[in-house]
Symmetry: C2
Subunit: 345 residues, 2 copies
DNA sequence: TTGTACGCGTTATCAA
DNA sequence: TTGATAACGCGTACAA
């Protein structure tokens, strides 16, 4: 048996445990991995020595040998976005219970960064990648590197619109857009503006489809001067409002595709002396905590990030437990949405 | 030379690159690590083959051999807290530029989880750990495991109050508490309440010290009925307000040690028909985005999470670049705070 | 400046 | 049920 010498850092190895317990490293390894063929008594002996020596498994060595790092990569535009923070938290907590670490990476909504992160996660040999892509990501081929290496990819929220062998989990954005527009219509709005994102992104394409469906269904004309597609920032939304209210004909309702834009609209309306919701009704999207706090509080679309997180974990675990790497190109999973009624519409 | 056979996954190794470029694996490794003693021409040849084969370094193997994972562990109560999200983002972006990954872990403010995470990060052999501890963490000895193994630990925000060989980076909470109370006093408040956290945590101990200093300096008596120490949740703060306003003598100012409590106070005040800031002045802490959006907007204490993040990275890089493991028990670094004047006080 | 050979700590395979 | 031994892919001392 090889002699095991503690290094200066005092970190033990499986060899020390083997030596101290009078067993072989293989047996120690079996105990660590809950292998069935170990006598109860032996197991106890090993666990005692592990306890006594304060041994902790070296996951790096383990990962090299077993080709499993027990680490999941997660790429997200920014963790400060409420929706993503909520999804991440659920995913991380559940996966941790299953023995997985999560490496959370922010792309800062930069495509280049996203590409870099994919390479890094590949090098890190994560067991799978979960990703919500950049708004600019229309070509998703940089993720091929992962899938070719047998690393499963799950896209959520912002997902590719082309065919892919990755798993897709998305919100019901068509319905969300429909619910929002329909709600304003039910309240009597006849002149509805839409502040949306770029149509290259599935989110805004779908929400716009829902919006248009509601308008058409109710025979309400869509005024092109009131339709905006751009990055959904506070400043952009304000500029939209300024444009809108420069003209003589103004809307009586605004569908905003995120809450930041809804907040911008609300503040602008208050500034120019409009009474929300009497003169102008506003509806947002995402149920950001701020939407509940501003006055009047903003009616918005709840996306159930917890449900989405749980679904992601469920799908992921089922993929990881599969031994054979069958491609399961299934239909995208769709998470429901719901309108949260408040005082802005 | 050993024969290198591509496995079924198509992932190649340093051996494939060596073979394909007609060089030795050692040379390829040198190129990958920017070792100086490589001829320009050779280097180019290697890089070309790497490019051609689509080779990516296996960080797991590299980590095992070099004993450096290029990964930093980050433990934080919850990423959804604005302050932490901001710190994390800065830290992660900077470290990524330096070639480090960050493993973000949430303790969910559970001490047990924090202990587990320390063990996991140890097993993962991260190169260092950055931690903002749980509110319950008064004994920090579970971090000793890391430091004994030569893994440096940096505490920020919530830091141990006992002696430690870890690095400490904290906000100027004494000054923050002082600024808050002093501001209300300058505005004429004579009866000031304080909604604070548990004194077992340095944050609230310090803010309370600052609060008391301002009160004493201005000869304003502290009314014990108006002083609260508990977890700073919305509901707890509301209960405080209810207690306060049940009595005949009521305060004219409230210092809240986070913005959630300030928001709770503000909403309660509005509900019972108080005019903020005329009847009651309220000041919060942290400059949470919600504090700017609620009306009236809340005066609060800015903690400069960006500065804190940058400082953390700077200190960390200097530790990691040190070859010898000298213990540098230095004074805690203190990040400044500033009062942000709004309309609630 | 480049190549050879070994070992990092673990797990898988095979034999006992 | 346990043990011996060979990998996993890379970095580095040493040799050339």
């Amino acid at each position: 048996m090889k002699k095991a010498v503690k290094d200066k850092m005092g970190s033990n190895t499986i060899l020390h445990v083997a030596e101290a317990s009078g067993l072989s490293p293989a047996t120690v390894s079996r105990v660590m991995n809950n292998h069935p063929y170990v006598k109860e008594e032996t197991k106890k002996r090993v666990l005692d020595t592990i306890e006594k020596l304060g041994y902790h498994r070296n996951n790096v060595a383990s990962g090299l040998r077993s080709n499993k790092t027990k680490t999941i990569g997660l790429i997200v535009p920014r963790i400060s976005m409420f929706f993503h923070a909520a999804v991440i938290t659920v995913v991380q907590n559940h996966l941790y219970k299953q023995g997985y670490n999560v490496m959370i990476c922010q792309s800062n909504d930069s495509l280049q960064m996203e590409k870099d992160l994919v390479k890094t996660l590949h090098s890190t040999r994560v067991d799978a990648v979960i990703a919500a892509c950049t708004l600019q990501t229309t070509d998703f081929s940089h993720f091929d590197l992962l899938m070719k290496s047998g690393i499963p990819v799950i896209f959520y929220d912002r997902v590719p619109m082309q065919k892919t062998s990755a798993i897709l989990i998305k919100g019901d954005d068509v319905r969300g857009g429909y619910l929002a527009a329909n709600h304003l219509i039910e309240l009597g709005c006849k002149r509805i503006a839409h502040i949306s994102g770029l149509l290259s992104c599935n989110l805004y394409l779908d929400r716009t489809a829902g919006f248009e469906k509601a308008m058409k269904q109710n025979n309400i004309p869509v005024n092109k001067d009131w339709i905006f597609h751009h990055e959904l920032t506070y400043d952009n939304a304000r500029r939209d409002l300024e444009k809108i209210f420069k003209k003589s004909k103004v809307p009586d309702g605004i569908v905003a595709d995120n809450d930041t834009s809804a907040i911008a609209a609300l503040e602008y309306a208050k500034e120019i002396g409009l009474n929300v919701p009497v003169d102008l009704k506003i509806i947002g999207y995402s149920n950001d905590p701020r939407s509940a706090i501003i006055s009047p509080s903003i009616t918005t679309i709840e996306q159930y990030p917890d449900l989405m997180g749980e679904k992601i974990v469920k799908v992921l675990m089922s993929i990881l437990s599969r031994t054979n790497t069958e491609d399961v190109l299934q239909e995208p999973t769709v998470i429901p949405v719901q309108l949260i009624r408040r005082f802005s519409a």
